[in-house]
Symmetry: C2
Subunit: 277 residues, 2 copies
């Protein structure tokens, strides 16, 4: 800090980088949530990308734009809280005047030993698993709009999503074939993983979180659970159990035909949050 750029001790193995921008009014409803949530969520979204590769975070930088009079302390509090909870040092930043309040977080991490886990490695016969039940963040947003308190458990899931860094590192250690984070809903993200791997899938179950609807579990974004494809689910479960992590939930299997995309035998259509201007 105070220098032109941040200096970090050498990385071990591949270097992993991701950038995410969060805009007040787009990524967070300003009338429903405190400003610090924007900082917190920008950090989580970026760290979740590292989790999805199985990377260990090494640090983050944050660039903020805001109009004069913005409560920058609140924004920074959110960034600092998410960074501290995940042991990720904030090593630099930039600040500019602008009309929008926007926070761009860039994270970088390392993958000691084996390389990063990509989306494109799923193979026919792999088991598909997810690190937790889905729809909590979308349910929390709905409840908040209906007047629920900020401290409501599902509202907290929307405000304070947790990047699955420990799970991602454990899955990489278990030699899983493919992985990604569910930022836009499994109804969209699973298709992306299948597209990248040139495979199809046959799901038996979408695990719906208590309090969420099936639609929220399918197309609600920002859960940040990890989606995993592996030919050795026993090893994955053992690794998770050893590290005190919640057991992953089996969704179904990968099939070789990329046109087969089913849930309990019915077509599983692509839907979820598509980004656009």
């Amino acid at each position: 800090m105070g220098d032109d750029a941040a200096v970090l001790s050498p990385f071990v193995g591949e270097a992993i980088v991701s950038t995410d921008v969060a805009v007040l009014g787009v990524h967070l409803e300003a009338s429903l949530f405190p400003l610090e949530d924007l900082g917190y969520k920008a950090v989580t979204a970026a760290l979740s990308d590292l989790a999805a590769m199985g990377a260990r975070p090494r640090g983050l930088v944050v660039a903020v734009t805001a109009p004069p009079g913005t409560d920058l302390d609140a924004l920074h509090r959110g960034v600092a809280e998410a960074a501290a909870l995940t042991n990720t040092p904030v090593v630099g930043g930039d600040l500019s005047r602008a009309s929008d309040v926007a926070v761009t977080v860039t994270v970088f991490g390392e993958c000691p030993g084996r390389g990063a886990v990509l989306r494109s490695g799923a193979k026919e016969g792999d088991e598909l698993l997810v690190t937790g039940p889905l729809g909590r963040a979308a349910a929390g947003l709905r409840l908040r709009r209906e007047g629920a308190a900020l401290s409501n458990e599902l509202v907290e899931a929307h405000r304070r999503p947790w990047p699955r860094l420990a799970e991602g590192m454990a899955a990489r250690g278990a030699h899983v074939h493919a992985m990604m984070d569910l930022s836009d809903g499994i109804g969209l993200d699973l298709h992306r993983l299948a597209d990248a791997s040139n495979v199809g899938f046959a799901l038996e179950e979408i695990p719906v979180a208590p309090g969420a609807t099936e639609e929220e579990a399918t197309s609600g974004g920002e859960d940040y659970e990890l989606l995993i494809a592996t030919n050795d689910p026993g090893r994955l479960r053992m690794m998770f159990a050893d590290r005190g992590l919640r057991a992953p939930i089996t969704l179904g299997v990968v099939v070789g035909d990329p046109l087969v995309r089913t849930l309990r035998g019915e077509p599983f259509v692509r839907r979820g949050f598509e980004h656009q201007l």
Copy 2:
């Protein structure tokens, strides 16, 4: 690309990171310059921070916010041009709707061998040098406001600043004591280097670029020349000459008393572009 995060082969030595945000209307006058200049300048500003550490760029990520209808191709053209000219791969990005057009560029590089050069290492007796004459960018902005063509040489210096990456790496190789880039004008940045090193300085000369005023050379920003302190200027000059780089220009010397800050014996007051909301 297409994965959650970018994967780069292992870095050699320290990892160096910097982030810079450029906002249309703040960092670039929309009525005077094409949109692609915003992308170009955001990349340059960030890469110049790597240059200032003596780092070799390894890649960059770019996050863009823009209202619907923005010419994103133009923005990306500017980013891609600056990245290509400096051999820096664009490895990832993010995009969001917003009111402002803003580009956040995060660069990362490596420092093989010796570590990065900081601002804080200047010592009494060091020679102070700069990699080129100053004030070109500020003069170019003035000329453009007066109606000069986009192709005017000084206007180009404002639109297409060049990060001094080769010079920074050569200076690190020459074991200089301290270095920084002149992004906010030497009238401010030299004081920052002196503050960080707890030293003063006695300048004999501020090199004014042809076509620029002395005031533009002193307090105009965005020249991105490097300011260097070294006890072995002969080695620095030889290293620059070996690599075909223009000879650095001597400004004066570092003095031990941090209260002594003079130009030709007169007080050299702190002035230049101070960032604020």
